[in-house]
């Protein structure tokens, strides 16, 4: 009887220790998970910020100015455009 009790006592202690360890492990992993989530959110925000920055760099105003001033380009006019009709997706052609 005493032996059985001792065995049970040891089992209880071991299981309790295991529980504590698991709890600890869970919290550790949870904290790590939180950190990763935060990082993901931050990266997403950076992406958004960089997208905006790229858009700000590519506004029609800036593109037009750079093309005109630095690259000496000009707007295409029908007079210098040749329209070709290829096999691609059908384009609308005025009758």
């Amino acid at each position: 009887m005493i032996r059985l009790n001792l065995v049970l006592l040891v089992a209880v202690v071991v299981s309790a220790m295991f529980l504590v360890h698991n709890q600890y492990e869970m919290r550790r992993l949870f904290v790590e998970h939180e950190k990763t989530l935060k990082e993901a959110a931050q990266l997403e925000m950076s992406l958004e910020r960089l997208t905006v920055e790229r858009r700000a760099q590519a506004t029609p105003l800036r593109v037009a100015r750079l093309a005109r001033d630095q690259l000496q380009m000009r707007n295409p006019a029908p007079g210098i455009t040749q329209y070709v009709t290829g096999p691609g997706p059908a384009r609308e052609v005025p009758q």
């Binding site: 904290v31 925000m45 958004e48 858009r55 029908p78 210098i80 005025p94 009758q95």
Partner: protein, 580 residues
């Protein structure tokens, strides 16, 4: 051990006789105490545990708010018109703030403030919360926190960015510092854009780290993205050309509206003067007003094509019918109507081409006021346009029963009623969409083959009027400057005296132009208005038509429309030295 110790067995205490009740009393007392403890423990832990549970939670459980991201505003091609980026704010607690002069100087520099101003903000030491600066860039905030000043904190906030700047400002609008829409689409769609923030209960450890969730988290619902019908390139061109024209003619203001002629989508809607939505200091109402939708004016000659189309529909005239407009003056119940130049006998085509008031009035007087009122109403005058926008106006169109003959006459050439530029552009879809007027939309329409409209005039008569509009924009018309290279255009000029008090101002005008292109199969309707041009020229054909021409040229090219007129190829190419 002391020598005076006695053996236990010989202890005198053992020999004395003790009453049994004493030991029993002690056992009972201890038993009762334990029972009391057990009852108390059961009470605290099982029966009435709320209080202690709450006290425990107060010490380690926290509710975190999960903010929802505000939706973005996109143009029809998915390009950003407005989006949110994190912009932390810096606040301080003056009560227990560290006041190291050197650190404060650095802080002021990073905040781009004068040290004296910073001192002033922190002067009241009874306060526990003071904003130092809101919505800073993230790198700057990191530097500030790196200074490690006690009593200076950052808080996460978001800033709205508008990469298109002033070109699209009136359509997109802006939000305030609390991220709540104040103008334009940001205001109208505040609910959809804002989303709903969520929350979660968590347990924090002593270092402030989240270590466990309690219960289910309420997830935030992000705001929906909003896709407008605006095309950002068209919008930009339209704004640029409009601004150039307003500055060139020393005008007070101007507006331009571009509609897709088949789907009714608004491709561009711009006003000048405008503002930059990111930097809103010293804004005036003049800059903020979305004139194309909120300002009404008398449409003048741009009404004539509607009257003529009604006359064709009622069989009153044919395009080749001849109308005698000599001698350029006409008196109706005591009031005289005149043409700016006398024209003699004109065909109906020429009445539109030359914009003859007399010709139009003579045709209009053969019709009933009710019919005129009906066509005006059908194309949307006197009614609020069905677009979601703050401050949209309906203009004014009086019931036909109150029209006196002279009023019927003036209304045929656009005086005595008022409209916004947006309504005017939409009204012209009746010509571009083969006789059906279509609803205008600021939202992108998926699959826009052709929006169903309300039939007002027959297809044949819509085409006939388009041909007249083409003549008006051609040589011998009122607006040859509306022509483009490669694309056939048609349109009607309007020049109206501005109302001042009860009468009309002799010197203040509005010049406008409404037109469509290409003539055979219109793709766009463009309306331009220039308010108070004061640099010598003021006719719609001089001030507004060139803006029309340039925007049509660019817009049709961007839409990939092939020119419908033969163009002389220009092959002269300027050689530019390449640089290495």
């Amino acid at each position: 051990m002391s020598s005076r110790s006695v053996q236990l067995s010989s202890s005198p205490l053992l020999t004395s006789k003790t009453p049994v009740w004493r030991s029993k009393l002690i056992v009972a007392t201890i038993a009762v105490s334990f029972a009391g403890l057990a009852v108390r423990a059961a009470y605290v832990q099982v029966i009435d545990n709320a209080f202690f549970k709450r006290q425990g939670e107060v010490r380690f459980a926290r509710t975190l708010e999960l903010p929802a991201n505000r939706g973005r505003i996109l143009d029809r091609n998915g390009l950003l018109l407005a989006t949110s980026v994190p912009a932390p704010s810096i606040w301080a607690n003056p009560e227990d703030m560290e006041r190291d002069p050197e650190k404060l100087r650095q802080l002021a520099r990073l905040l781009e403030m004068m040290p004296a101003d910073l001192e002033k903000k922190l002067a009241n030491e009874d306060k526990t919360f003071v904003w130092l600066k809101r919505q800073l860039d993230e790198p700057v905030v990191k530097e500030i926190l790196a200074l490690d000043i006690k009593g200076v904190y950052s808080i996460k906030e978001y800033k709205r960015l508008y990469p298109e700047g002033e070109a699209a400002a009136h359509v997109v609008g802006f939000t305030n510092v609390e991220d709540v829409g104040q103008e334009g689409m940001e205001l109208v769609f505040q609910k959809q854009l804002a989303g709903r923030s969520g929350s979660r209960r968590v347990i924090k450890d002593r270092l402030g780290r989240v270590v466990e969730d309690i219960g289910e988290a309420v997830l935030p619902v992000d705001g929906e993205d909003l896709q407008l019908s605006i095309d950002n390139k068209v919008q930009f061109f339209a704004y640029q050309k409009l601004r150039d024209a307003v500055l060139e003619h020393k005008a007070k203001a101007g507006s331009v509206v571009i509609l897709d002629a088949q789907s009714g989508e608004v491709l561009a809607l711009a006003n000048y003067p405008s503002y930059s939505p990111d930097k809103r200091v010293n804004l005036s109402g003049e800059q903020l007003r979305n004139r194309a939708l909120t300002d009404t004016f008398e449409p003048g000659s741009t009404m004539k094509p509607l009257v003529i189309s009604l006359a064709l529909e009622k069989g009153v005239v044919k395009p080749e019918s001849r109308i005698d407009t000599a001698p350029g003056r006409l008196t109706i119940s005591g009031s005289t109507i005149s043409d700016s130049h006398p024209h003699g006998t004109l065909t109906v085509n020429e009445v539109i081409q030359k914009s003859s008031n007399i010709g139009t009035v003579k045709i209009a007087m053969q019709m009933q006021p009710k019919d005129m009122w009906e066509i005006y109403t059908q194309v949307g005058f006197g009614q609020k346009p069905q677009v979601p926008f703050p401050g949209v106006v309906s203009g004014r169109l009086r019931p036909y029963k109150t029209w006196r003959p002279i009023e019927q006459a003036t209304m045929s050439y656009g005086y005595g009623l008022s409209t916004s530029l947006f309504q005017l552009a939409r009204a012209y879809t009746v010509f571009s969409h083969d006789g059906e007027v279509i609803p205008a939309s600021l939202m992108k329409i998926e699959n826009p083959i052709s929006t169903a409209g309300v039939r007002v005039i027959s297809e044949e008569h819509a085409l006939a009027v388009r041909k007249m509009l083409n003549l008006a924009a051609g040589p011998g018309g009122t607006a040859p400057k509306a022509q483009t290279v490669g694309y056939s255009v048609g349109g009607k000029t309007g020049t109206a005296h501005k109302q001042e008090g009860k009468g009309y101002s002799g010197k203040k005008y509005r010049g406008f132009f409404v037109g469509l292109a290409p003539i055979d199969r219109p793709r766009i309707v463009v309306a331009v208005m220039i308010d108070e041009p004061s640099n010598g020229r003021y006719f719609g054909g001089d001030v507004a038509a060139p803006v029309f021409s340039e925007t049509v040229q660019q817009t049709l090219r961007l839409m990939g429309v092939q020119p419908d007129m033969s163009v002389k190829p220009q092959t002269s190419v300027q050689a530019v030295e390449e640089s290495f």
